[in-house]
């Protein structure tokens, strides 16, 4: 009973204008049109959004968690990228 699998799509929804699309889950659908319908029928039943993106799950390239150390840790000591690194006298006021 092995049948061809219906592709998986990741669903992103924008709750309202002004916000970014956010990943909410996934659906199975044969193509992008049915995927958008499915996303609408599954993930917006309670007024969760006003815009939907779908993207095939196998089209997403992801960073490798095994390389997370070398990928993300080198930024840890670059504290000069943060505003609190710099000392400005209080008299100068908010900056």
């Amino acid at each position: 009973m092995t049948e061809q699998e219906t592709p998986l799509w990741e669903v992103f929804i924008r709750p309202r204008n002004g916000l970014a699309h956010r990943h909410v889950g996934s659906v199975h659908a044969a193509d992008e049109v049915l995927a958008l319908d499915a996303a609408r029928d599954v993930y917006t039943r309670r007024g969760e959004g006003n815009s939907i993106w779908v993207v095939r799950s196998d089209a997403i390239a992801a960073s490798d968690p095994d390389h997370a150390d070398e990928t993300f840790d080198p930024t840890a000591d670059k504290i000069y990228r943060h505003p609190t690194f710099y000392e400005i006298p209080e008299d100068v006021g908010h900056m």
Partner: protein, 333 residues
């Protein structure tokens, strides 16, 4: 809706001590584990099994309530029941997707359900025999499920926890709509009240069984707790459920079908709670193993939907293929 009572989880794992220790440290620090992270094979296997069982329970769980959609006694009740059963379909869908992040496909999981290899909550192998069952399922079965599902929102596996947060948010109306049905029946005619009592009589014990075997007999619970897949023991949750539900039954004027049920000051660490009579575990295992009155029919119904739908799924895939081909051709011209 679902139970905990994970059946037959196998948390055995063969990684090195150092690997397991490092993993445990992450768990103890309340770090969430994400799908591509390194994890013990036993952790992955337990999750696939538990999330799969949970998803199957939602999908099979659509059937006993689906049995009354077309007989719902008012348009309002029909809409509410339909929306509730639809939610269950949605919850099955979220959960399948959570399991899929671990590298098992929905088709594989479906095949396991249809072949009888995968288990699901045995509560759904009981028939729904009158309209009050719609009330009792919402009140008791969803009530029991909520007890279990709220802690699952903090489960250590990220996709499962996120799915459960969504599920819990949506399910908040399920128990209330069930209790409202019970309340309406209990305030109605003598026949209606009798229906409500009958539903409670039949569903009370199966609802208690939803929490799974006693802690002492729950072989794989300990490892699941350690990995924070599970946060409370079966007996703890069952007690919590009974303590919350008995006063609700009293409010309805219904009798809980347990002659040994009584208040016991010594329970819950001296705070008191309801002591209950013995659960018939023979019945539990009989139904789990496939000999409940509805087991065969449930799987048959799922198999029929899946088989009848095969040509539709094939058509959609074929059409997608044709469209993709035409697009390539157009681009070439």
């Amino acid at each position: 809706m679902y139970s905990q009572g994970l059946i037959g989880a196998d948390g055995r794992t063969e990684e090195s001590e150092a690997f397991l220790d490092a993993f445990q440290k992450r768990i103890d620090a309340e770090e969430k584990i994400e799908p591509k992270d390194a994890m013990p094979e036993g952790y992955r296997r337990t999750l696939i099994r538990q999330i799969g069982q949970h998803a199957h329970s939602e999908i099979v769980g659509m059937l006993p309530e689906g049995n009354w959609i077309t007989r719902a006694p008012s348009l309002k009740r029909k809409a509410a029941l339909l929306a509730k059963v639809q939610d269950e379909g949605g919850h099955g869908l979220y959960l399948y997707a959570a399991a899929e992040t671990l590298g098992v496909s929905r088709e594989q999981m479906t095949e396991e359900l249809l072949s009888g290899k995968a288990k699901y909550s045995s509560i759904f192998n009981y028939p729904t025999l009158n309209w009050a069952d719609m009330g009792a399922i919402g009140w008791l079965v969803d009530g029991a499920a909520i007890m279990n599902q709220i802690p699952l929102c903090r489960c250590s596996f990220g996709p499962y926890a996120r799915a459960m947060i969504r599920v819990c948010k949506e399910e908040s109306f399920h128990q209330r709509q069930g209790y409202e049905i019970m309340l309406t029946l209990c305030r109605g005619t003598a026949e209606q009240k009798q229906m409500a009592q009958d539903a409670l009589d039949r569903l009370w014990w199966p609802a208690l069984m939803m929490f799974g075997p006693h802690d002492a007999d729950s072989a794989h619970s300990e490892q699941s707790m350690k990995w924070k897949i599970k946060r409370f023991s079966n007996d703890q949750l069952r007690q919590k459920f009974i303590d919350a539900t008995v006063p609700q039954a009293e409010y309805l004027g219904l009798t809980v079908p347990d002659p040994d049920l009584r208040w016991d000051d010594s329970l819950n660490g001296g705070k008191g709670g309801y002591a209950h009579g013995d659960i018939d575990w023979d019945e539990f295992w009989r139904v789990v193993k496939g000999d409940g009155v509805m087991n065969r029919d449930r799987i048959k119904a799922r198999k029929k939907a899946w088989d009848d739908g095969a040509w539709v799924r094939e058509a959609a895939l074929k059409h997608a293929e044709k469209r993709a081909m035409r697009k390539t051709q157009e681009a070439a011209e």
